[in-house]
């Protein structure tokens, strides 16, 4: 027989008139290979059909199941219950708009970010349907792939005190996004143009360096590295300095 676990869930549905925020305990039996995704579904199936939470891919790809698990933002589908104590809490991510219980609306936030960072390839080249795609250097492709692995779960935003305090701060995910385009040779934006996107306190210069993002990113992106890279790059662009021979 598996371990008895107790999950304290945050419950509050802003759409139900008169509903009050509270923590509710659910007891269930743990079994082999149980993730928090499975546990929450068990709760919804057997104990409480009203519990609200998000899942799509259950394979750490879509980023919709991020929540505070024992206080730390993580992906529920990537978290094994056996690595948690027998009594733990789950809460929705802060910063984002609460939809109900554990579900938050990260979509709007990330859409805003998309617009704000102009997260698409800016190019003057005309796209030719018939031509072969231009080959990319493997090393660069790999470099782009690192920041590109971001699943937009919002964990780095939720655990960032700066993002919690200031609603105009784009968080590690935003700076990381810009990093991805800076590396990409197909994006023809000059550094001065990137500066207009992240060169303020809402972007790279708002970061205090608390590194919760770096510690808690479920995809383990090298956020310290990427954030520092963008900061140096943007400082160089702002001061109109170039450092030949130095890899920023």
């Amino acid at each position: 027989m598996g371990r008895q676990i107790t999950i304290s869930c945050f419950r509050f549905n802003p759409n139900i008139p008169g509903d009050k925020p509270r923590m509710q305990d659910y007891k269930l039996e743990e079994y082999e290979g149980m993730t928090l995704f499975i546990a929450l579904n068990d709760i919804r199936e057997k104990l409480d059909p009203t519990l609200v939470f998000d899942f799509v891919c259950r394979a750490a790809i879509c980023g919709s199941c991020a929540m505070l698990i024992n206080g730390r933002p993580r992906l529920a589908c990537k978290t094994m219950t056996r690595n948690l104590p027998s009594h733990f809490t789950v809460m929705p991510l802060p910063v984002f708009k609460l939809i109900g219980d554990l579900s938050v609306d990260t979509g709007k936030w990330f859409r805003d970010l998309q617009m704000r960072t102009e997260a698409w390839i800016h190019t003057t080249k005309k796209f030719d349907f018939n031509a072969l795609e231009v080959r990319m250097d493997n090393k660069i492709a790999e470099e782009i792939y690192e920041p590109e692995r971001c699943v937009e779960c919002g964990c780095c935003v939720a655990c960032c005190i700066t993002a919690n305090i200031r609603d105009d701060f784009m968080g590690a995910t935003g700076i990381n996004r810009v990093c991805r385009f800076i590396i990409d040779p197909r994006d023809e934006r000059a550094d001065a143009e990137y500066f207009e996107v992240v060169g303020d306190e809402g972007g790279t210069f708002g970061c205090v360096g608390l590194m919760a993002c770096d510690d808690m990113c479920p995809m383990e992106l090298p956020l310290q590295e990427n954030l520092a890279f963008v900061r140096r790059k943007m400082a160089g662009a702002g001061l109109k300095l170039t450092f030949p021979g130095i890899k920023l």
Partner: protein, 238 residues
Amino acid sequence: MELAKNLNASVNKSFGKTDLLVDLAQSISGVILIGFLWMHMLFVATIVVSPELFDALSEGLDKYYLAQFGIPATILVIIIHIFLAGRRAPLRLRDLRITYRMASLMKHYDTWVWVGQVITALGVGIMASMHLWTILTHWPLRAATSAARVASNGPADITWGSFTFPYYVVFYVIFLIFGEYHGGFGLYRILVKWGWWERHTMGWVLKGITVIIVVLGLTALYTFTKIAANPALGGAIH
């Protein structure tokens, strides 16, 4: 992340350089101050070698106007640093509450360290003013006068039986630890934000340096109390 912000970003294109310059100046002032702090502690620690060395160094600093120039310059940098770094501190009640809640929920080491930096900043600000006031009103600084200052109210009293509170020693121990904590982790954060180095290794290196400096400072304090208690070394028991 409001729509207004997006509109602002796309319609009113330029951010200007203010945010960059302010952020850069904050980091630079921090680096200058930690450089000053470490140098200061090394200078003070010369007392451990010999009071003569301490005096020679001190006289040298006066003679070449390094102290006369250095002290006002340092005060200026401190004031600048307070304004620049202070804007990052959670000062509003709302911000304090969010910071406390998130830090306690996440139990995240670096976030708590930062909370400690904010608290020590307050302490260092107050104690640095007190320290400056005492040294400037007891100019010039020499081994004997410094020893007398450190030892006033307590430790120079050889008879610990009639205990008097060692005000200055306690003050300097707290000041030393607060200063080194704030400076050491401050430099760590600056390097994390700008540097190329993996932060865990770098953190350990900086912790190592900080411990060495704190030990040096404590040894210097101890030496001062010994000098103060020993008339042969020019000490005057109050």
